[in-house]
Each structure stands twice: as C-alpha cells, then as structure tokens.
C-alpha cells in the first residue's frame, strides 16, 4: 500500500530538484551527497500516508537542499567563519553554533599543551641556572686571569691552582709563552674560561626572565 509505484516518480523528481539547488557545491561533494539521496527519499516515501506528499513531509526541495548544505558544512569545516553565514538563515540561534565546536575542541587539546609549557619552563629554568653557574664561575675564577683580548695571564693565577692542575716543570715552561695556542690543551679551566665570554652577555637577561 505504501510503496505504490507513483512514489518512485515523486522521489526522482524531488531528488532532481534538490540536486539543482546544490549546483554551487563542488562536484565531488555534490555527488557524495546525492549518492544515497534517492534511496533515502524512498525510505521516507515508503512511510508516507497515501494522502501526504514528500514536499508536505520534507518541505520544498530548495529548503531541503539548503539544510543539507548546512548539515554538511557546519561540522566538517569547523571554522567559526564558515559556520556563521551557513547558520544565518534560521535566525539568531544560529550564532551560537560556532562556539559549540570550538568549545568542544579545547578540552581535548589542552592537556598536552599544558604539559608542554611545563617542559619549556623547566628547560628555561635549567638553561638559566646553567648559564648563571657558568657566569658565576667565570666571574669568580675565570675573569681575573683573562685579559681583554681573551688570552690568559698566568702570572695572576693563584699558585694553588697552577700546582694542582699541572706539574711544576710545565708551569714554568708555559708561563713564559703565555697566550700561545699550545697552552690551552694541558689546562682545562682555561679552555672553559675562554669559552664563557661568548655566553656571558645573554646571561643577565636570561637569568631575570624565569
């Protein structure tokens, strides 16, 4: 009774009219939407009373196509800019649609973001501390022994330091040729002290920021 053959023409005509109102959509998207539409309309038609029509149940094909476009757009492109014009038709209520999705998204994204900031803060503090320690070490121990041109003045070195780090013979030998490249290798603190001047300038600014 409900699947009388007259409905097939009605369904086909309705589907065609909807398709005409989707002409502005990209071909692929339109094809995807229309792929099952006739079958779906057939299901609707099968449950219609004899005296009622598809238009009576579903509204005009133009309205149907409009609603279809909105349903496909609203959530597939989750940008507020796309959502507002699409939902402008129904009235003021539509304006609430865009916030609904951005509101749903953040809780899913927020936790990893939070843990990342923690990591960066930790790294920043660690780096700042390292730079500070290096700077302090340089200021207290390195600076007095390094002249403006970056060479080490071994004459100013405390005797204890010299005795600890190198044997007496080599100490005598290298003090005379101070500033030569050879003097860097046997004595570790020198190379460290010479490395720090390049790191010193950023240290005050970095140590203040955390």
């Amino acid at each position: 009774m409900t699947d009388n053959p007259g409905r097939a023409d009605e369904v086909a005509a309705y589907r065609q009219a909807v398709e005409a109102h989707l002409s502005r959509l990209p071909a692929a998207e339109r094809a995807e939407l229309l792929a099952d539409l006739e079958a779906h309309l057939g299901e609707v038609a099968a449950e219609l009373e004899l005296e009622s029509s598809l238009v009576g149940r579903l509204g005009t094909p133009a309205d149907y196509a409009k609603e279809l476009r909105e349903a496909v757009r609203v959530s597939s492109e989750q940008t507020p800019a796309q959502g507002i014009p699409g939902s402008g038709g129904p009235g003021g209520q539509g304006a609430f649609v865009p916030p609904a999705f951005p509101g749903i998204a953040p809780p899913l994204v927020a936790p990893p973001r939070r843990s990342l900031t923690g990591l960066w803060i930790g790294l920043g503090v660690g780096a700042g501390t390292l730079v500070m320690v290096l700077a302090m070490g340089f200021l207290f121990f390195g600076a007095p022994f390094v002249s403006d041109d970056g060479t080490v003045n071994y004459e100013d070195l405390p005797e204890a330091t010299v005795e600890e780090s190198r044997s007496e013979e080599t100490a005598e030998a290298t003090t005379s040729e101070s500033g030569s490249s050879e003097s860097e290798s046997p004595w570790d603190p020198t190379s460290e002290a010479e490395a720090t001047p390049s790191e010193l300038p950023p240290s005050p600014s970095e140590s203040e920021t955390p």
Binding site: E32, E43, V44, D63, L68, A100, I104, P107
Partner: protein
C-alpha cells in the same frame, strides 16, 4: 544551536541502536528534538559515513524498499566518546555560569 551538535546527537542515537535514516529522525522527534529536519540528519549521516565513523548494511523491509542501516565503527565510538567527555565538561561549566546570580539584581 542544535546544528553544532548534530554529530554527537546522531552518533548517540546510533550507539543505542542501529537505525536507518528516517528512523533516526523518528527517534530524535521522540526525544524532543523537533527542530531537526530530515535533511540535517541525512547530511550528517553522509558526512559521518565519509569520515569513517559509520558503516552501513542493508536489510529488507516489509513495507517498501530495502533500508540502509547505519552502525558505529570503532572510530565512531572513539569520536563519540571524546565528544561526550567534551560535552560534559562544557555542560558543567555552562551550568555553573548560568547559575551565578546577576550582581545588580536584588
């Protein structure tokens, strides 16, 4: 306002029980969602299907053509779960916000 919630609404209906397109609309009307139209439900179904959240199978019906039933895929269940949790979060905050009395009112 409901348009932004179409995904979670349709997925939840199908999580309770598989259904064919027009049946989903019936269930939604029964649940009080009178504003939703058939085109909204159909468009949402196609979009969710394309995204891999839904699968389909066809069953014969007594009163007409075969019906295409929609069912959730594992991806669809995961997507719904995520949205459900997000909704609870937003809902709790909204409830709190809306319950705060206005300052000027006495």
């Amino acid at each position: 306002m409901l348009k932004g919630l179409l995904d979670i609404i349709v997925l939840r209906v199908l999580e309770i029980e598989d259904a064919y397109g027009y049946e989903i609309l019936h269930r939604l009307r029964g649940a009080g969602f009178d504003e939703l139209g058939d085109a909204s439900v159909y468009g949402t179904l196609r979009r969710l299907y394309k995204a891999g959240y839904l699968a389909t199978y066809v069953l014969p019906s007594d009163s007409g053509p075969h019906r295409k039933y929609y069912t959730l895929t594992p991806e669809g269940r995961g997507y719904l779960k995520g949205m459900h949790e997000a909704w609870e979060d937003v809902s709790a905050k909204m409830r709190k916000l809306l319950d705060i009395p206005e300052k000027g009112r006495s």
